[in-house]
């Protein structure tokens, strides 16, 4: 009964049933499509933010956990850690925790994608005229906005426990901006992992495996020179350290440059280079994984 044999018809004719003209017959103009894609992205961002606001566990993860880390290091470990930074350990700590938060924020990116794939919800959206990349962009933007909420909360908590910006308002804003960009980059890595691994629990486990070493074997909580020498090479050169050093200089001003061992300019450029490099590698990978998922 079934007809076998390949027969991919070569002609490109578009035939409307009954000869009637159809909606969708012509491709809409580029401006129209860009407008739709933008609107799709905003709608999906909003959707993700509503979901986040309604799940207590997500709020805990976004707000309470980073605060916990801040207080833990400030009062439990902080006394034992000597840092060459004016204002003491708390000034060293807050930019470090903010950098770490960018890493932790990416968990929800990976988990969110994996959950959506597992449920099958992605099929509906892919069968709709919704822009392909809006699904990715909508989640990344929502996750970065959440990261900004976390950063704001942590700066507030930091101020309560003795942290002060000392480089001026412009640098403080630049610090938050760099943290957000770095968060975007790390979330794009997580997006790829979530879309490629597709299983919520595996993604959770895997997230710990790569994010924890990168955030802790960095300059986030302790100066790298306090680590064994074999570890210092990695700790100094990995992106979290680069970015956290830059965050620290932006937060505390030029006097810290010597303590960090880098100038503001070189730390910032290196951080931006990492951000650009990570995005350049992982957004295409994530897009491809999304198309194949």
């Amino acid at each position: 009964m079934a007809v076998s044999g390949r027969s991919v018809a070569p002609e490109l004719t578009v035939r409307a049933p009954g000869g009637a003209s159809l909606p969708g017959l012509s491709t809409p103009p580029l401006a129209q499509r860009l407008g739709w894609a933008l609107s799709d992205t905003l709608v999906l961002t909003k959707r993700n933010l509503i979901v986040w606001a309604r799940v207590p566990a997500y709020i805990f993860f976004t707000v309470v956990q980073p605060v916990m880390f801040t207080l833990l290091f400030r009062y439990v470990f902080g006394g034992a850690i000597r840092v060459p930074v004016p204002g003491g350990y708390v000034n060293y700590l807050i930019p470090g925790v903010i950098g770490q938060t960018a890493g932790f924020a990416s968990f929800s990116t990976a988990i969110g994608f994996a959950r959506e794939l597992q449920r099958g919800g992605i099929d509906r959206i892919r069968s709709m005229p919704t822009a392909r990349w809006a699904f990715l962009a909508g989640r990344l933007i929502a996750d970065v906005l959440r990261l900004l909420v976390t950063v704001a909360v942590m700066v507030g908590v930091g101020y309560a426990v003795g942290f002060r910006f000392s480089g001026g308002a412009g640098y403080a804003v630049a610090m938050v901006g760099l943290a957000a960009l770095f968060g975007l980059a790390i979330c794009s890595v997580s997006a790829f992992i979530g879309l490629a691994v597709k299983d919520e629990e595996s993604v959770q486990a895997f997230g710990l495996v790569w994010v924890f070493p990168l955030t802790f074997v960095s300059s986030a909580f302790v100066p790298v020179r306090a680590m064994p020498s074999w570890l210092q090479g990695f700790a100094n050169r990995q992106p979290f350290s680069e970015v956290i050093d830059a965050l620290r200089i932006l937060a505390l001003g030029h006097p810290v440059q010597a303590a960090v061992g880098q100038s503001l300019a070189s730390a910032t450029w290196q951080s931006l280079a990492w951000v650009a490099g990570i995005l350049a590698v992982f957004t295409p990978l994530a897009t491809r994984a999304y198309k194949r998922a």
């Binding site: 009964m1 409307a16 909606p23 309604r54 959206i125």
Partner: protein, 385 residues
């Protein structure tokens, strides 16, 4: 053959996942305003076909068009014309019903006020007004399916794909979904529906295409298909052999053709064509009048398994394959059950009728069936694997 009015046209469609051929050259077409039921067990290729037609998968060979657009070459055009619904997986549980619909509307590129208005209309039409502003995670299975269907309709698609819209629903919700689907069809929606249930295809589809192992093994109207299977059967088991003859002559006038007697000599089958319920009552009266004691008295409607058995000689036994259209290799448990060995007569063993594919199609007559041989042999059915 395809005509200009065919909204969906599938020719020689093939899809492989690595070495696994999920579709091996499938042909069918759906004219405007008609309902096609793709009927088959899990893993037959139904979902793969739907995924190709809804632009989620690229075909490995052959051709599929929706409203004249090739799904592989003009996916964007196809996506503007179709709606996809099924097992409510596309619903975001943390959003309310209304939010789910409005967001779907916006993603179909409706204006904000249009999306809002249409969401309100659909909530009313699908009886979800009271629950509209509750999070979808509080919804029952039936409500979720209705919401899912509503979300797929918000863009006013010309063609609707429903992938197993009632799988896993309780009987009442299932009837509710059927009513809604019939209503859509009455309004002229072109519909492609996949199902594992013969009665569902019978109820909803104008035309049924039976798929097995990635191939079309039969196509036609539900009635044609059922005729090939043989219709309803009322069966019972007499408790004492000496009553067999009395029983058979009592029910003979009610049967289309002579009643069959099972090889073990105690089971009697009365062929009831499409009048199962009426014949069941008559059989009870006749047996009562003849003072025959029976154990398992049941009405059995033809199930997907019967269709498969009559078309292919094997049952629809692949209950364990996944939903992505990737098939596992066929387990070699066919014909191993004691129930089948004891039952060479009839289109399919009773055990099969109570398997997963036949769920909801077996109508038992009250409590007698539960203790009788029907129930006993039912436990050795294909569910085992």
């Amino acid at each position: 053959m395809a005509t200009d009015a065919d909204v969906i046209e599938v020719r020689g469609l093939k899809k492989s996942f690595g070495p696994v051929q999920a579709l091996r050259g499938v042909d069918f077409s759906v004219p405007e305003g008609r309902v096609l039921g793709l009927l088959g067990p899990n893993g037959a290729g139904k979902t793969t076909a739907v995924r190709v037609l809804t632009t989620l998968l690229l075909p490995s060979g052959g051709r599929a068009t929706v409203c004249g657009y090739d799904v592989a070459r003009h996916p964007g055009a196809v996506r503007r014309l179709i709606g996809l619904a099924g097992q409510a997986t596309a619903i975001t549980p943390e959003l309310t019903g209304r939010e789910n619909l409005e967001i779907s509307g916006r993603l179909y590129h409706l204006g904000r006020s249009v999306a809002r208005r249409r969401a309100a209309e659909l909530l009313g039409r699908f009886d979800l007004v009271d629950a509209a502003d509750r999070q979808a995670k509080t919804y029952s299975g039936g409500m979720l399916r209705r919401l899912d269907l509503a979300a797929s309709l918000i863009g006013q698609p010309r063609v609707l794909f429903l992938d197993e819209p009632t799988t896993g629903l309780d009987p009442r919700s299932r009837l509710g979904m059927w009513a809604i689907i019939k209503d859509l069809v009455a309004q002229g929606t072109t519909l492609l529906l996949t199902t594992q249930y013969l009665d569902e295809a019978d109820e909803l589809a104008d035309e049924v295409v039976v798929v097995d192992r990635g191939q079309v093994i039969a196509a036609g109207s539900p009635d044609t298909l059922k005729d090939r299977v043989g219709g309803d059967v009322v069966e019972f088991t007499v408790t004492e052999r000496r009553q067999l003859e009395v029983a058979v002559s009592a029910v003979a006038p009610l049967s289309q053709g002579p009643p069959s007697v099972g090889s073990e000599g105690l089971r009697v089958q009365v062929h009831a064509a499409d009048r199962g319920s009426a014949v069941l009552v008559d059989v009870v009266r006749a047996l009562d009048a003849a003072q025959v004691a029976t154990t398992g008295l049941a009405l059995r409607r033809p199930s997907l398994d019967d269709v498969f058995l009559s078309l292919t000689g094997h049952g629809a036994e692949e209950a364990a394959s996944d939903g992505a259209g990737r098939r596992r290799s066929r387990p070699a448990r066919r014909g191993a059950g004691p129930a089948e060995a004891a039952e060479p007569a009839g289109p399919a063993g009773v055990a099969r009728a109570s398997g997963p594919a036949g769920a909801g199609t077996t109508v038992t007559s009250g409590t007698t069936a539960a203790s009788g041989t029907t129930a006993a042999s039912g436990t050795t059915g294909p569910e085992e694997g």
